[in-house]
Amino acid sequence: MLRIDRAIYDQIVAHARRDHPDEACGVVAGPEGSDRPERFIEMTNAERSPTFYRFDSKEQFKVWNEMWDRDEEPVVIYHSHTATEAYPSRTDVSYAKEPGAHYVLVSTRDPNIEEFRSFRIIDGEITEEPVEVIDGD
């Protein structure tokens, strides 16, 4: 199960909407081993494409290095699909190399319907999990 604050959930959806029709991507970092997504980090889609995304390698280094210094890890890795459902594609699965991460997929195919789903992807195996959005005070 993914538990995520409303504010971060909204930031992910807003980023996906803003970059539509290109795919948007990013991470939410949290303290190592905590499973708490706390620090929202929007990433550049180096492909700037409606069908593909890739973290810019230099930006990824900078962000991962910051996480290293702060004893954090990528708790959530998110990206959007702009014309298809919020479900990992074969390409997504082949690249999924963070067994501890929640892979969040947002679809922006319908401007009025929010599709936000979370998956574990381990050794090529996709497992969908419930998402609990925590409303702040």
């Binding site: 991962w64 290293w68 014309a83 997504d92 690249y95 999924a96």
Partner: protein, 92 residues
């Protein structure tokens, strides 16, 4: 001559859970050969047909080695090598 190598989560099963290890070598290629002697199997996870795997990013200090000299990139005492899985995907 020792170089610190930062290991991503997915490879820590090969380093007894260590986040960072040390290796020796004058180039990145030699360093990976040395690491594979200490942590069997790590070479195969980084290389394919003698080249860096497509899904793996390797950085010398803060520079992606693909923009340096790849496996021939010289490494020195006190350098830090960081291994990160590339993050990518797409709708197909």
């Amino acid at each position: 001559m020792a170089t610190e190598v930062r290991i991503p989560t997915i490879l820590r099963n090969l380093t007894d859970g260590a986040k960072a290890v040390e290796g020796e070598g004058a180039t990145l290629g030699e360093l990976i050969t040395d690491l594979d002697k200490r942590y069997a199997g790590i070479g195969e996870r980084l290389l394919e047909d003698g080249k860096l795997r497509r899904f793996i990013n390797v950085y010398l200090n803060d520079e992606d080695v693909r923009f340096l000299e790849g496996l021939d990139t010289p490494v020195a005492d006190g350098d830090t090598v960081t291994v990160l899985p590339a993050v990518a995907g797409g709708m197909r």
